[in-house]
């Protein structure tokens, strides 16, 4: 049986009186691809932020490869070999595509190896023609692709992506899907997503969030046909 790379126990996050994440128990195996879905305000992003260290959970524990990382800073979690992409694009606008990816590679490799790896990644993502452009000049889809590239170049064993397909064209999404499939050869991937189309095309197991808690966790087809899930999404009473 594959190793558990990410686990949360009783993860709870409260903002004042609002419980954004409610006693979430979550387990992820190595090289698994998991999508987290749920309507707006279901607590997906809060859960994501607690796991990545952007928020410290009110209660509960987060474990990565068996090590407790609750309350760690994002840079400490990233240093373990965890690649993170936030909901809003977080890239280095004034720097070139090459420099962006090089900086990500440099964290784990010496200078020249980082250069080789970033060149390789630029080729793999077909970014060669814009490698010298600064990120600020690029289109949204290209920026997303670069951000995925700088996550991938660090050779993570766990990748956490918050809405990677948001605002992208169909062609970009297709390319993104290919990159993510590539990632799952070496890493477990968690994707927080809204876009059902995208999830159908990529997901295997899906975890559904509703009102901060896990509603169900099953294969994508069964989740999509589940009456309760449909009700949650369409806002009907069950």
């Amino acid at each position: 049986m594959a190793e558990t790379v990410l686990e949360t126990q009783g993860l709870t996050m409260r903002f004042g009186g609002v419980t954004a994440s409610d006693n979430v128990n979550f387990k992820l195996k190595a090289r698994e691809l998991r999508c987290l879905i749920g309507p707006n305000g279901a607590g997906k992003s809060t859960f994501f932020k607690c796991v990545t260290g952007l928020l410290t959970p009110t209660e509960g524990h987060v474990f990565m490869r068996g090590q407790e990382v609750t309350g760690w800073h994002p840079h400490q979690i990233a240093s373990l070999g965890v690649g993170i992409k936030t909901q809003t694009p977080n890239v280095l606008d004034a720097l070139s595509v090459r420099e962006n990816i090089w900086l990500a590679a440099r964290r784990f490799h010496p200078v020249s190896e980082a250069r080789d790896r970033s060149d390789e990644m630029i080729d793999r993502l077909a970014l060669g023609s814009i490698a010298r452009s600064s990120l600020g000049q690029l289109a949204h889809g290209e920026r997303q692709r670069v951000e995925l590239g700088l996550v991938a170049v660090a050779d993570p064993w766990l990748v956490l992506l918050d809405e990677p397909a948001a605002g992208m064209s169909a062609q970009d999404v297709e390319r993104m899907t290919a990159i993510i499939h590539d990632l799952t050869k070496t890493a477990a991937v968690v994707i927080v997503e809204h876009d059902m189309q995208f999830i159908r095309s990529i997901a295997d197991t899906v975890t559904v969030f509703h009102q901060g808690a896990v509603l169900m966790e099953d294969h994508v087809d069964r989740v999509m046909s589940d009456a309760q899930v449909r009700a949650v999404y369409l806002g009907k009473k069950t």
């Binding site: 990545t52 800073h73 994002p74 840079h75 990233a78 240093s79 993170i84 992409k85 936030t86 977080n90 890239v91 280095l92 606008d93 004034a94 720097l95 420099e99 962006n100 090089w102 900086l103 990500a104 440099r106 964290r107 784990f108 200078v111 023609s129 814009i130 010298r132 452009s133 000049q137 700088l150 660090a154």
Partner: protein
Amino acid sequence: MARTALQDVLLTLVVSALLIWIMPMLIGTYTLTVLVIYGMLGLSLGLIWGFGGILCFGQAAFFGLGAYTYAIAAINIGESTLPMLLAVLVPAIFAALLGAMMFYGRLTDVYLGVITLVVTLILFKFVNSTAGPQYVIGKARLGGFNGIPGFQTLNVPGDPGAYIWGDPYYYVCAVALVIVFLLVTWLLRSSFGRIALGIRENEVRMGLMGYDVAARKTVMFAIGAAIAGLAGALFANWGEIVTPSLFSLGQSAEIIIWCIVGGLGTRIGPIIGAAGLAYLKFLLGQQSLIDNTLITGLILVLFVLFLPKGLAPAIAALFRAVFGRTRRKPDARRMRRARHG
């Protein structure tokens, strides 16, 4: 990166050698020395603000700290070599402690500005109030608003009798500035410098890549303070007296204006801004028609309105336009068209 490291170093050496040789024919070395020192002070803020993204309203604190450290150490030791080193180390350590407090405390820019401003004020008030005879460090009286005069000035290392002053002192300061400039160049080309640039662009992203942003900003802040401290020590030697006005808010504000006018995000800009504005102030100081702070303010406003990137980038752009080095832009445009069509 447009130029290789070797080209960069050679260009720096040639240009600075020419300037060091030519400038004394235009401006007296006594004035020139202080312009060089201000240039170094400008560079210290230009480094941490323009490349590290740390807007420090209290760069004068480190400048003054360096000057006072030198004066106090020189009186106690009677030889200038160790005091010079201390004048670099003390501000750097002070900045490291202050920086660690601010950056590990996750303070945002505004609070950073407020804290550095207040620290400068506290130092200014404190040093100003140390006129009494009870304020003594070793053999040195702090002297309050009177400052500290009569300390050992720079001498040839190991020979306290061989003072370096006048023209030779100008060359010492100019060479020191060139060395600091080359060190800054090297720093910015190193991984540390490139990562610092990344942090300036997006702290969250650099954190998510696994970089310890707080630690790196603290180090950057301390490096800036070390350079400011060195400038302070050189200034103390030049003026042969240190006074609390070194810590004044006016001084801090001036450094920021130098950087804006000279061009933030360039190495040479803050130096040009510092030397240029300081020289202008010197010239304006010789007349009594207009208050020179008014002129400085006017220049700042004009630059912010018409040359917001500062002098150095504007000159570089002009140079490129005149000599037709516009290869890059059309290239980029062609590429974009090709991709979209």
